[in-house]
């Protein structure tokens, strides 16, 4: 009843409108129906920038610093797409970058930061054996043995590493991933697709353990 807001068909506020400063009967400003514009016009323009020797010097310092940072080895850029035409100067530019490579002090960093070098060393050995010795049956057998040994070594070293790293099982997957990738990279360069025959997969003819049985 009282204060229903429709007394005599006119709106009435619940508080004294004089308190906010509108005199009785004065028109209220328009209600806002949309959000404010993203670039409102400014009646008061900003003050011009400070100028002086100090500011100029700091500006030069800032731009120099930015340029120098781009050339430091800390700047990791995403590798761009290969250019359509190989430029002659690229040969000289890339050598400069390698020269300036940076290695952090590994003693101060967590052990997982160090890039895993074991893969490359182990696979370098059979590679050298492959290229230096002439191909013969004995050498092929030796190579198979070496590869088996290498797998065992990796298994052992992997286990050790996993125990010292995080205890969750997800790490195993992660440790395997770069290894698998490296294996594919470093395998022999023949025409066979290395992923075609996985270790332990049966493809077509199963394990040819008994050669007496004929295969159909």
């Amino acid at each position: 009843m009282a204060g229903s807001g429709r007394g005599r068909g006119r709106a009435a506020f619940t508080f004294n409108i004089e308190a906010i400063g509108f005199s009785k009967g004065a028109s209220l400003p328009d209600a806002v129906c949309k959000p404010p514009p993203p670039f409102p016009s400014t009646d008061n323009k900003p003050v011009p920038l400070k100028t002086g020797e100090d500011e100029d010097y700091m500006l030069a310092l800032k731009q120099d610093f930015r340029g120098t940072m781009k050339k430091m080895p800390y700047f990791l850029a995403v590798e761009e797409e290969r250019e359509a035409i190989e430029r002659y100067s690229k040969k000289y530019q890339s050598r400069e970058k390698e020269h300036a490579a940076w290695t952090p002090d590994w003693r101060r960093l967590p052990r997982e930061m160090k890039p895993r070098k074991k893969m490359k060393k182990a696979s370098a050995k059979p590679r050298k054996a492959n290229s230096s010795d002439p191909k013969s049956n004995l050498d092929v057998l030796k190579k198979i043995e070496e590869l088996e040994k290498k797998d065992d070594e990796e298994e052992k070293s992997e286990d050790e590493k996993d125990k010292t790293k995080d205890k969750e099982g997800e790490d195993d997957d992660e440790a395997e991933e770069p290894e698998e990738y490296d294996e594919e990279e470093h395998e022999e360069e023949n025409d066979y697709i290395s992923s075609y025959f996985e270790d332990g997969d049966d493809f077509g003819a199963g394990s040819d353990d008994n050669m007496d049985e004929a295969t159909y």
């Binding site: 506020f13 619940t14 508080f15 004294n16 308190a19 906010i20 400063g21 509108f22 009646d43 008061n44 900003p46 003050v47 920038l49 400070k50 100090d54 500011e55 010097y57 700091m58 500006l59 310092l61 800032k62 731009q63 610093f65 930015r66 120098t68 940072m69 430091m72 800390y74 700047f75 990791l76 850029a77 995403v78 020269h99 952090p104 002090d105 003693r107 101060r108 960093l109 967590p110 052990r111 997982e112 930061m113 890039p115 010292t164 790293k165 995080d166 205890k167 997800e170 790490d171 992660e174 991933e177 770069p178």
Partner: protein
């Protein structure tokens, strides 16, 4: 971390370290402490790339690692440290004003590399200085070392946390680095002898040549480990902030009073540099006799004049200097927190004046002085017609410079029986403005990058032309040929380049200036946070 701060962090990281570091850094800032595999999963980068990015961030003190109880290693980004990248030019320039070119280059090298050993820093700076000197002269390592020692003595550079001396048990997944408070600024005893080397292969000095060649061929690995191996130094940003704060206070006093009083305040601050903790509300009390003895040599004001100045400073309503006792001719302190509050308030006032006009500024200053006022009182005190006063107050209220305080007369908070008082909450407004400053800087950086990207083709062309010109000048070409090369860039292109350069310079200078405001506001907000 607000959205604006995260955006600014990611822009700064991208500009200075590249996209990979930016992705890793932004994720760390956004999500808090993360182990390595979460980073690899969430950023979508390869493990190698994430490792490299983390090494870069750790090297530059932008991230830290810790060993949580459940095992493994977690990495955390230091977002406020990333925002300091904006202020690097100011640090380098301050080092230049204090310690000359050598100091400037030392601080610049430390900022470029994050942390370095003293020997590496000295060597690099000596080489750089030798480059700029005239032919035949080289920079001695001893000079650079002595400047480094001075920097360490004034605490502008500090040691990084060290590996513990004795290995503690089996090595864990990550080393725990410790730092002894007393050891933070002790310089190791080094025997650095030598002179800087030039990079050019044609050397004037005979003994320099075989050494330089050996260095190029072998790199760092063949040299014996330096004597200070493992002792890394970093720039002490807090000390630079103290220096900037002191500078701001001195210049404020100079603006308000005169040069002599600013010199007195500068002397007081210099005397309290090492005795006052960084977060202290006021400096240690200094007696008037001490101040008289420590005034710089050029100033020969008498003791009575000094006492008069000190009394004037202490009576000033801004309360930069306070009197804490009468022994020793009067004990005076500098009220650091009050000074910061005054500086922040002055910044607020000037922003309101520039944004809304001088009448709004009058209302704002009135509210600052009288704390709480009703609508009617505002009109009366400010002597502004009701309608305009109302409009201005509502404008400032909508932009959050001014707040409304309700005081109910009855427990049911009926609007007709409630007082509505306008007030200014300085810390809250300061925080709001700081947030706006971060947004401004992010906008400025985006615009600058956009401008550079738009004109990328033109910039590359002009760089190529410059390179051709330089090489032709080096091999000695005629003026006609040089003229021809220069004409490769047409006149409208030249104009475009000019305007691009002007715009980029303007945007860069604006970033520097906004950073000054950020510094004042941040220092004030830090001073209001009560340490537990």
């Amino acid at each position: 971390m607000t959205q604006a701060e995260i955006k600014l962090c990611s822009l700064l990281l991208r500009e200075h370290f590249g996209e990979i570091v930016e992705r890793v850094g932004t994720l760390l800032v956004r999500a808090g402490a993360q182990p390595l595999r979460m980073l690899v999963g969430d950023t979508g980068l390869s493990l190698e790339q994430v490792k490299k990015a983390l090494c870069v961030l750790l090297q530059h003190n932008l991230a830290t690692f810790q060993l949580p109880k459940r095992g493994g290693v977690e990495y955390e980004a230091r977002a406020e440290r990333v925002l300091r990248i904006l202020r690097y030019p100011r640090y380098i320039y301050a080092a230049k004003t204090l310690y000359g070119d050598t100091g400037e280059l030392l601080v610049e090298e430390l900022l470029l590399n994050g942390k370095m050993t003293m020997s590496a820093a000295v060597r690099k700076v000596a080489d750089r200085l030798t480059e700029t000197m005239e032919d035949g002269r080289t920079m001695d390592y001893a000079d650079v070392s002595s400047t480094f020692v001075r920097l360490a003595d004034t605490h502008l550079v500090q040691r990084c946390p060290l590996l513990p001396e004795t290995p503690q048990g089996p090595p864990g997944p990550a080393p725990t680095l410790v730092l002894d408070e007393k050891e933070m600024y002790t310089v190791p005893r080094l025997n650095l002898t030598g002179r800087g080397k030039r990079r050019r292969s044609c050397e004037e000095e005979e003994e320099g040549e075989p050494r330089a060649k050996k260095q190029k061929a072998d790199g760092e690995g063949s040299e014996p480990p330096p004597e200070d191996d493992g002792i890394y130094w970093q720039v002490n940003l807090e000390r630079f902030h103290q220096h900037f704060r002191d500078q701001a206070i001195v210049s404020a006093v100079a603006n308000r009073m005169d040069q002599t009083s600013s010199e007195i305040v500068r002397t007081m601050l210099r005397m309290s540099e090492v005795t006052t903790a960084s977060g202290a509300p006021y400096t240690q009390p200094l007696s008037s006799n001490e101040i008289f003895r420590s005034l710089p040599a050029g100033y020969n004001i008498s003791k009575q004049v000094l006492d008069q100045y000190l009394t004037l400073l202490a009576d000033d309503p801004l309360e930069f200097v306070g009197k804490s006792g009468d022994s020793g001719g009067g004990m005076y302190t500098v009220n650091l927190h009050k000074a910061l509050a005054s500086l922040a308030t002055a910044t607020l006032e000037s922003i309101v004046e520039e944004r809304f006009g001088s009448r709004c500024a009058r209302i704002f200053r009135l509210l600052l002085r009288k704390k709480h006022l009703e609508q009617k009182q505002v009109e009366d005190f400010a002597m502004i017609p009701a309608k305009e006063a109302k409009e201005m107050l509502y404008r400032m209220l909508s932009e959050n410079f001014v707040a409304l305080q309700e005081i109910p007369k009855t427990p049911d908070h009926a609007p007709s029986r409630t007082f509505y008082l306008y007030t200014v909450n300085v810390p809250a407004s300061a925080r709001m403005l700081l947030h706006r400053c971060y947004k401004s800087v992010a906008n400025l950086m985006e615009r600058r990058q956009f401008e550079t990207k738009e004109n990328k083709r033109l910039l590359e062309k002009s760089q190529r032309v410059e390179a051709i010109l330089a090489s032709m000048q080096a091999t000695g070409a005629e003026a006609a040929q040089l003229q021809e090369i220069e004409e490769m860039i047409t006149a409208p292109e030249r104009q475009q380049l000019e305007s691009l350069k002007r715009n980029v310079n303007k945007l860069d200078a604006s970033e520097n200036q906004v950073d000054e405001t950020i510094f004042v506001l941040e220092s004030f907000i830090h001073s209001t946070i009560r340490k537990p």
